[in-house]
């Protein structure tokens, strides 16, 4: 059985490769459709010396035929090289930027994900055990409203309320810039400040995380509310629940058992939600000036730095692939009916 699971994970992991390849291909060709020379677009004026232009083109690999560029980059990608930036500063490895930005996005998405799951389960359970009452309707309205909240707007309202009006929380950035004793190691600021034993920094990092992760987490919680509620209602009407109740098992315990059963489809939703979460992270990061992957893409877009955009998309694809792999493995472990 353990060997079977190992094989299942391996096969499932190999399935990430075509996905990354396809997304790379789409993005590569889309970025090349654009008329005009990206270098000129970056430099802005057409009166730079031709030799310098040639040199820059060569540096970026743009002097080669399209298919050579395609396979060159692919080959580099396999070695973890995502090319060099095409714009100010030019010629820096894209991966060095991503190493700086990705941890910020990971930190934000982990917190937002936790908020969304906890809130979603809480509201869903509340709706299910008060089925058919006003509370149930309220939870249903919550799920629709949360789902259709526009992230930047909701974020701004929280900024206005907790930042401008109440002065409780900071509205942008990851850490108070006046804290000079903090030095990032991994880029995951929570981890870094704990390693360094720097509690003021930790406090500031957590403070900065609250509003962005609440914004993203609340918006994404709506989908869970619905699913948890509907599943739990189904499970609660099943025979085994009645049997438990008849035997005098306390309600709280029965609910726990039922929730365990209602949870399996929620795991599948988590995988799907994660992609939406990453998309939402771009908007959240822009709203809260959060130096993550989303703001990285937006920064690079203003420079028309295609290599960086391409690199960021590949990293996102890899991220999504790994998450869906994890979700599938958890699902396989939870649900004995899955064959692997």
């Amino acid at each position: 059985m353990a060997r079977g699971l190992g094989r299942y994970i391996l096969i499932r992991a190999l399935m990430i490769i075509p996905m990354i390849l396809i997304l790379y291909t789409i993005v590569f060709f889309f970025l090349r459709i654009l008329p005009g020379n990206p270098i000129l677009a970056v430099v802005g004026t057409k009166n730079i010396p031709p030799e310098q232009l040639k040199h820059l083109e060569h540096l970026a690999g743009l002097d080669k035929p399209l298919y050579v560029q395609y396979f060159d980059y692919l080959w580099k990608m396999l070695h973890g090289d995502l090319g060099v930036t095409l714009a100010s500063p030019m010629g820096k490895p894209v991966s060095s930027y991503i190493a700086l930005r990705l941890p910020a996005t990971i930190e934000l998405t982990i917190f937002a994900f936790t908020v969304s799951v906890l809130l979603g389960i809480a509201t869903g359970v509340l709706g299910a055990i008060r089925k058919g009452t006003k509370t149930d309707t309220a939870m249903r309205v919550y799920s629709i409203v949360a789902y259709t909240l526009f992230i930047p707007w909701f974020g701004m309202m929280l900024q206005y309320l907790f930042g401008v009006k109440l002065h409780w929380l900071p509205t942008s950035g990851r850490i108070d810039p006046s804290i000079t004793s903090f030095h990032p190691i991994t880029g995951l600021y929570i981890l870094d400040s704990i390693i360094q034993g720097n509690w003021t920094a930790l406090g500031s990092v957590l403070e900065h995380l609250i509003l962005p992760s609440l914004t993203l987490g609340i918006v994404l919680s709506g989908a869970y509310t619905r699913l948890v509620r509907n599943n739990l209602v189904d499970v609660l009407s099943q025979d085994f629940v009645r049997a438990y109740k008849a035997r005098g098992v306390p309600d709280r315990k029965v609910l726990l058992y039922a929730l365990k059963n209602a949870f399996i489809p929620v795991v599948t939703l988590m995988g799907l939600q994660f992609a939406i979460l990453l998309g939402g992270a771009v908007l959240t990061e822009t709203t809260f000036n959060w130096p993550g992957m989303g703001t990285f893409i937006m920064d690079r877009i203003s420079y028309r730095d295609y290599n960086s955009i391409q690199g960021a998309v590949i990293v996102f694809a890899f991220f999504v692939g790994v998450i869906s792999l994890i979700v599938d493995v958890i699902y396989a472990l939870l649900d004995p009916r899955v064959e692997y």
């Binding site: 993005v27 889309f30 526009f150 930047p152 707007w153 701004m156 771009v282 998309v313």
Partner: protein, 282 residues
């Protein structure tokens, strides 16, 4: 015709989902009317710059004025045109591309099916907003380009649904009978399978329009959809953000509320239809 009859039924019959439907439908209807009659409803020219900057909401300016002295209320009314136009074009495009591809893939099977499914699944599992951003950047800021970018990311949604349905319909007797009689493949798809797939397309459509609205708003918030001074909800929200922190809340508040209401209106219609048909697609 079938769609209109269904709408009327949802409005008249006292069954679960009616309240949701009426509420959602009214919101959407109001926004559509706003867009059609914009020139007559808007009290001011939405792009006219005046010296009355940062005026709070008043009788003269129901939603106040922005940093350029433009009337926010008039911009909201005119802005409904851009978002509705983009979403309408985008969803039409994704249906026109996604449905036939899904039919072909499901009906033909084999290599075409495997390749198409793999490509579509890859796009589907990737964060749609990020892909739309990349495409929108390449095409440049204009409403039609935004629509193309959004349509691209929603093709897989229709494709997957239609492919699945086609697969199950293909095995049914009436389709086999048609094939046995020698009806051509494309005619079987058009005459026998497509009509049976359409109700599902309708449900997927109502459920994904809300998403498409939020994607459009997201792209224009990021500055990838329209160029100033075109009134646009997402873009106006972005412009209003720095002033919100100075206490001028009305610049950002109203455009955001409109985006949310419109998305909510469609989500409620979708929810009501879905509940009635109880297909349980989500």
């Amino acid at each position: 015709m079938m769609v209109i009859e269904g709408f009327v039924k949802l409005l008249r019959e006292r069954k679960p989902g009616r309240g949701l439907f009426i509420f959602g439908f009214s919101i959407v209807l109001i926004v559509i009317l706003m867009a059609i009659f914009a020139p007559w409803i808007a009290p001011h020219n939405p792009t006219e710059i005046s010296a009355d900057v940062f005026q709070p909401p008043s009788w003269k300016h129901p939603m106040g004025t922005n940093n350029l002295g433009q009337d926010v209320f008039s911009r909201i009314i005119w802005g409904s045109r851009v978002i509705l136009y983009v979403v309408a074009v985008a969803t039409t495009l994704s249906i026109v591309i996604g449905v036939p591809l899904g039919l072909l893939s499901g009906y033909r099977g084999g290599k075409i099916d495997r390749v198409l499914s793999m490509v579509m699944d890859s796009i589907y599992s990737f964060p749609s907003l990020i892909l739309a951003i990349v495409i929108a950047v390449v095409l440049g800021p204009s409403p039609i380009n935004t629509a193309v970018a959004i349509s691209f990311v929603y093709v897989p949604t229709y494709f997957r649904m239609v492919r699945g349905q086609t697969l199950s319909l293909k095995g049914q007797l009436f389709v086999e009978a048609a094939r046995a009689l020698g009806v051509k493949d494309w005619e079987t798809m058009k005459k026998y399978i497509l009509p049976n797939v359409l109700p599902t397309v309708l449900v997927v459509f109502t459920l994904s329009v809300a998403d498409a609205i939020l994607t459009e708003a997201g792209l224009s918030f990021l500055g990838l959809s329209v160029t100033p001074p075109t009134p646009d909800w997402g873009y106006d929200l972005r412009v209003g953000q720095p002033f919100l922190l100075d206490g001028y809340w009305w610049l950002a508040f109203f455009p955001g509320v409109m985006i949310m209401l419109l998305a909510m209106g469609f989500a409620m219609i979708g929810e009501a239809i879905n509940e009635r048909l109880s297909l349980g697609t989500r």
